[in-house]
């Protein structure tokens, strides 16, 4: 008798658990469309830049699988809604451009790859901030570099072995070579409005992070490592280099927001580290 009661209680509990589980899963999956609508209402997604059909397509192809990977390998206590919120629903916070559209998708492209290269070479100027965003497995992190002259790009390239640190990782490329290397992903250009200041920053970053004489011969060697010391020049990483270029290269001007000298700056967050009066404007995407 006692065993029977025990069994029925167990069955009821198991049934409840299954019902709740299935319901939770169902509500989470069927609400995806509502999530998009809410994000549009809250002005996070611009439906003209990221139509619902494209978003739902990316949600199915990239966001959900990335979330599943995140949940099973990294942190399982984050709900799908929270994860989408953390990733800003797959769009850049300032320009509202989709982060997850790579250039291999079948969607209509305004320019061909070659046109993009040419347009980038025409538009990019000394002191411009370059932010690469693509279909990374990590979703929104990206890569950053800076124009250290009108014709060259300086970056901390990163690569295999980042965990242990990569020696001598600061590289300068001609802007054409650089954009060709990154043409499979979207590159956004950001520019501060003061062109003289931008040139000063470019000169600073060139002479302090590549060649002390300002020539094409590299005599400054910087190791790659993602550490927490924002003001330490060596080791360095992609977005920290760009941050330091403006932090140190603009002298006493309050270009950057005051912050604690400890932390990590993700490349996609670089524009938000500027003070309002010097906030860089978005020039275009290539």
């Amino acid at each position: 008798m006692y065993r029977k009661i025990k069994r029925s209680i167990f069955s009821v509990l198991l049934g409840l658990l299954l019902v709740v589980g299935v319901e939770a899963y169902a509500s989470e999956t069927t609400d995806v469309s509502t999530i998009y609508d809410n994000a549009v209402k809250e002005n996070i997604i611009d439906p003209t830049l990221y139509p619902k059909s494209d978003w739902l397509d990316d949600e199915k192809k990239y966001m959900r699988p990335n979330y599943d990977f995140f949940k099973s390998n990294i942190l399982d206590s984050v709900s799908y809604n929270e994860w989408l919120e953390m990733n800003n629903y797959g769009v850049m916070s300032d320009t509202k451009l989709p982060l997850l559209q790579n250039k291999n998708s079948n969607r209509r492209q305004a320019r061909s790859a070659q046109d993009n290269i040419n347009k980038f070479c025409k538009d990019a100027k000394a002191g411009d901030i370059l932010i690469v965003s693509g279909n990374f497995p990590t979703g929104v992190i990206g890569h950053a570099a800076i124009m250290n002259s009108d014709n060259t790009v300086l970056e901390m390239s990163g690569g295999e072995g980042w965990k242990k640190g990569i020696p001598d990782n600061n590289h300068q490329y001609s802007k054409r070579t650089w954009i060709k290397n990154h043409i499979k992903d979207w590159t956004s250009i950001y520019r501060i409005s003061d062109s003289k200041l931008a040139k000063k920053v470019a000169r600073y970053v060139d002479t302090h992070y590549f060649s002390s004489k300002g020539t094409a011969t590299k005599d400054i060697h910087i190791d790659y490592k993602i550490d927490s010391l924002l003001k330490n020049k060596n080791p360095n990483y992609c977005s920290k280099l760009v941050y330091q270029a403006f932090y140190y290269g603009t002298g006493d001007l309050p270009v950057m927001k005051p912050t604690i000298p400890w932390g990590v700056i993700p490349p996609a967050n670089l524009p938000t580290t500027f003070s309002n009066s010097y906030k860089p404007t978005y020039i275009g995407r290539y």
Binding site: N73, I74, L75, F136, P137, T138, I141, G142, H143, S157, G158, G159, E160, W162, K163, K164, G165, K225, I226, D227, S228, L229, N232, P235, Y237, C238, S239, V264, P266, P267
Partner: protein
């Protein structure tokens, strides 16, 4: 014993920070980090998996251990200490998560 459940993984977390070089390179700790990292790479045979175990496993272990100790110690003074340790562990988890995402995205 209940205190050790929190203290040991927390010390491991501190070693991870010093060995990885969160606050700058310290050669003694860095050497041991390199040794363990190379060993993990050889054993796991998967770079991403060994990175996740090292960079996320240790902070998670520290969070769980410190929480366990926090709820099992009786003295208020010790509760405060374990509370701070939990907080440090959570911040460290965030830091290493970001470092891992950025490192993987740029490799």
């Amino acid at each position: 014993m209940k205190k050790m459940v929190g203290i040991v993984p927390f010390l491991l977390l501190i070693w991870l920070h010093l060995g990885y070089g969160t606050f700058g390179k310290m050669s003694v700790f860095h050497q041991s980090f390199m040794t363990l990292s190379n060993f993990m790479d050889r054993v796991v045979q998967n770079n991403l998996a060994s990175t996740l175990i090292l960079f996320l496993g240790i902070p998670v272990l520290s969070i769980v251990g410190c929480y366990y100790s926090l709820y099992n110690v009786k003295s208020n003074y010790q509760k405060i200490i374990f509370g701070v340790m939990v907080l440090v562990s959570i911040i460290s988890f965030g830091f290493f998560l970001l470092v891992t995402l950025m490192g993987v995205a740029n490799q």
